[in-house]
């Protein structure tokens, strides 16, 4: 269904790359990844290359736990906000977790990111549920049912809160002294399974109306999502999951693609073997390309009729993202966002009507 439209490209910019041992090939001091200059340089590279969306992976815990690899990570929403005033076209999608935050703060933060970026905010829905994640808020582990309900409730209440101010709520009517029309600012009175939220949000409606909600496919919340991000091990599984998402009414489907390319005189397979010898990179969950840039171009061409976009997860940014920029993008047809476009415009998603407007 998307054969007539070129692919959209997204990239995850967390850390030194998607491979847990990426820092070993980063060519820089490990702590540099935690500097503002590293964050802005990575986003600038992706924006200039024409990526429609940058995601910022995150978790309540250190990325590599207690192991040999990266223990540091700047909170994703803060990273995204930091680059919002340094960019003008790329979408910015931090992972925020529904389980270890306050839903009201989460909705406020994302609405604020949308204002700061002038309509380029998205949210990768996170649902960290390990005992160590929940221990950060002193909560017990969640059962599968409670987790599922929690995810649905937080996404639902965020969406209601983003609508709680109508677009025309601020009237600045000097004659009557009224700054806003209180009939256009609404309590949401949300009652979830484990919490309630009164509303309205403290932040006026985001420029996009609703922040773009990006739902990892394993969360199975397609009905609440703007974009479903498919994690599947092969093309057939990707196609099946994408079809199911579309059947649920999802307008935009992206697929996750892990990328290891020939680089620096070393074959992709050798590079991966070397990194894996340091720390194993779990395979078989997501599509993975290990090989030449030319073969990656072919794979992307094969994905173009199946999905709307591809999120690249370069194993090592310094090498694999660079190789994508140098050897893949110049020969690929893809849709780059226009300066000043909102993310919804870049993704071809409509600006939603407000549920509180009769």
């Amino acid at each position: 269904m998307t054969a007539d439209r070129p692919l959209l490209l997204a990239v995850d910019l967390d850390g030194d790359g998607a491979h847990p041992a990426a820092w070993r090939d980063s060519g820089r001091s490990p702590a540099d990844v935690l500097s503002p200059s590293a964050v802005r340089a990575a986003v600038a590279l992706a924006e200039t290359a024409g990526f429609a969306l940058a995601t910022f992976d995150d978790a309540p815990r250190p990325p590599a736990g207690e192991g040999l690899d990266a223990a540091g990570r700047i909170e994703a929403g803060t990273r995204a906000a930091y680059v919002s005033t340094l960019t003008d076209r790329i979408g910015l999608a931090p992972t925020l977790h529904v389980t270890t935050t306050e839903p009201f703060h989460l909705a406020t933060q994302l609405a604020s990111l949308d204002h700061a970026s002038r309509g380029r905010a998205a949210w990768v829905v996170g649902a960290a549920d390990a005992a160590d994640d929940l221990a950060t808020i002193g909560a017990p582990a969640l059962g599968a049912d409670d987790l599922r309900l929690q995810v649905r409730d937080v996404v639902e209440v965020a969406r209601r809160l983003w609508d709680s101010w109508q677009d025309d709520a601020v009237i600045k009517d000097v004659a009557t002294g009224r700054y806003l029309d209180s009939d256009r600012v609404h309590h949401v009175d949300f009652t979830g399974h484990a919490f309630t939220v009164k509303g309205p949000l403290i932040t006026p409606r985001p420029p996009q109306g609703q922040v773009v909600v990006v739902a990892p496919s394993e969360l199975e919340i397609d009905d609440l999502a703007d974009v479903v991000l498919v994690a599947a091990p092969d093309l057939d599984a990707v196609r099946a999951r994408a079809d199911r998402a579309r059947a649920a009414g999802v307008r935009s489907v992206f697929v996750d693609l892990e990328v290891v390319l020939d680089a620096a005189g070393e074959s992709a397979a050798d590079r991966l073997a070397r990194l894996d010898a340091a720390t194993g990179w779990r395979a078989g969950r997501r599509l993975r390309h290990v090989g030449t840039a030319a073969a990656l171009v072919d794979l992307l061409a094969a994905l173009a009729p199946v999905v709307d976009g591809v999120r690249l997860l370069p194993a090592v940014h310094r090498l694999d993202l660079a190789a994508v920029l140098d050897d893949v993008l110049p020969v690929l047809t893809y849709r780059a966002p226009a300066a000043g476009a909102t993310l919804r415009e870049s993704l071809g998603l409509p600006r939603p009507a407000n549920r509180f407007v009769a």
Binding site: T78, E102, S112, Y179
Partner: protein, 472 residues
């Protein structure tokens, strides 16, 4: 300000006891407290920019950098203000999340400190500490946290456990929360991260210590994901003026954001606070006192006074005056003439709803006595509803005068160490701040009481505070 004040301001032998010695070289430290909501900002003025647009904030922050300010503060309010059950419509309302907005400003500025007001009641300690430390990293050491408490169920209706914290335990929770944040922020050894990509492991074994607390007020186990910033950790601001607030400040704060702008009150406050500091083993220079203040400047004293009257009239319009008294009467007063006498009806029984968020905490009790006092005063002085509201509602400008007069006054305040500077509450954005940057700052510089360039890079350095980790 009287002539006698001015004369005193010019002498160097002020012998007031502020708990710190007279300092002829003291500098005025300035911040701006951008509440983003409330009656302070005269939104009806056509020069006032849109209140949520990022451009408004970027322009303001850059203006303050031109004026060599220490910090730009954002306020916090976790529920949109209401009046008798409806969203209050007369004031500016709606604002961004402070940390998100300040992170966006970190990308658009180079020098200014970025301070987020965040409460300790409806936040999770690990989550908030991490977000503040992240702001500190992306701003390269320019972050601050203005610690506040929120205690009521009305605000709590937006959160998972609304109203969980008893009012009298709010500072106990705040202290444990702050202590938790400090523990997380110092849980990475200074050399925790390997110095090159060839190291055996990314971080040195044992150099990052997990932190846990398990009390009835703070309960978590976590490993911090961010190291110390260039300034060590976010600068801590504390605003509470109550006894509990002062104790919290004396234990933890780097800066207090007090309400005491009157000179004598400021002196008494400084003396009290510095005595508390000493009891905590801290020096007088380990804490900066920056009261919130509004300033109205004019080319002549008369022009300044006229402008101050205009500001007051705009901030307390007839409609706002009725709304102000409605909070106390607890009923609709829209049928009363704002230019007429106070309502003759009796107020609705019961104390003020403590929750609506439009009345300062100290005014939330004793409503009947206050109404009786107002009635007596309005009869005695012949004050209408609106005239009385302009007299009794909080928010009078603290400093009104020519740039030269205000500069003389402030120079005295800082040299006597009654305060270390001010946290300004603008009434026109950016207008009233442009006046301060262009006319008052040069007067202060002429007196040797203000920096002529940024000499440090971090907020802690701007405030001339001792480095983190050294005994205060």
């Amino acid at each position: 300000m009287t002539d006698a004040d001015l004369e005193t301001a010019m002498t160097s032998t002020d012998s007031v006891d502020t708990g710190a010695p007279y300092d002829p070289d003291a500098h005025v430290h300035l911040g701006v407290f951008y509440t983003g909501v409330g009656p302070q900002i005269i939104w009806s003025d056509p020069t006032v920019g849109p209140h949520v647009a990022i451009e408004t904030f970027v322009d303001l922050a850059r203006l303050l950098e031109r004026g060599l300010f220490d910090a730009f503060f954002l306020g916090e309010g976790l529920r949109v203000r209401e009046n008798r059950g409806r969203v209050y419509d007369l004031d500016v309302a709606g604002r961004p999340d402070a940390i998100t907005q300040l992170a966006a400003l970190a990308g658009a500025t180079e020098h200014i400190g970025l301070v987020a007001t965040q409460n300790t009641t409806y936040n999770f300690p690990v989550d908030l500490a991490r977000r503040l430390a992240s702001l500190d990293l992306v701003s390269d050491g320019r972050a601050g946290w203005n610690i506040v408490t929120t205690d009521n169920a009305w605000t709590g209706a937006n959160f998972r456990h609304g109203g969980w914290l008893a009012h009298e335990r709010r500072y106990e929770r705040a202290a444990q929360f702050v202590e938790s944040a400090l523990a997380l922020w110092s849980s990475w050894e200074p050399d925790a991260v390997a110095d090159g990509p060839d190291a055996k492991s990314w971080s040195l074994p044992g150099a990052i210590t997990p932190v846990e607390r398990h009390t009835d007020l703070v309960d978590f186990r976590a490993t911090a994901t961010v190291p110390a910033s260039r300034q060590g950790r976010p600068v801590l601001f504390q605003a509470g003026d109550s006894d509990g607030g002062r104790d919290l400040a004396a234990r933890y704060a780097d800066v207090v954001f007090s309400a005491n702008t009157d000179f004598d009150k400021a002196v008494a406050y400084a003396r009290d606070l510095r005595a508390r500091l000493a009891r905590n083993g801290r020096s007088a220079d380990s804490l900066r006192i920056l009261p919130g203040a509004s300033v109205v400047l004019g080319a002549t004293p008369q022009e300044a006074a006229d402008k101050a009257r205009w500001v007051r009239e705009e901030q307390m319009s007839p409609a706002r005056a009725l709304a102000f008294f409605e909070q106390y009467w607890g009923t609709d007063l829209s049928g009363y003439d704002p230019d007429g006498p106070l309502p003759d009806i009796e107020p609705v029984d019961g104390e003020l709803d403590p929750s609506r968020g439009t009345i300062p905490i100290e005014l939330r009790t004793g409503k009947l006595a206050r109404i009786a006092e107002w009635r007596e005063r309005s009869e005695r002085e012949g004050l209408s509803i609106v005239a009385l509201a302009r007299e009794v509602a909080p928010g009078h400008p603290a400093f009104v005068g020519t740039p030269s007069q205000v500069a003389d006054s402030w120079t005295r305040y800082v040299r006597t160490r009654a305060v270390d500077g001010f946290n300004l509450l603008p009434h026109l954005t950016p207008g009233s701040l442009i006046d301060i940057v262009d006319t008052l700052v040069p007067e202060l510089q002429e007196r040797g009481a203000y920096r002529t360039e940024y000499t440090g890079t971090t907020l802690r350095e701007h405030l001339a505070l001792p480095p983190v980790g050294l005994p205060g």
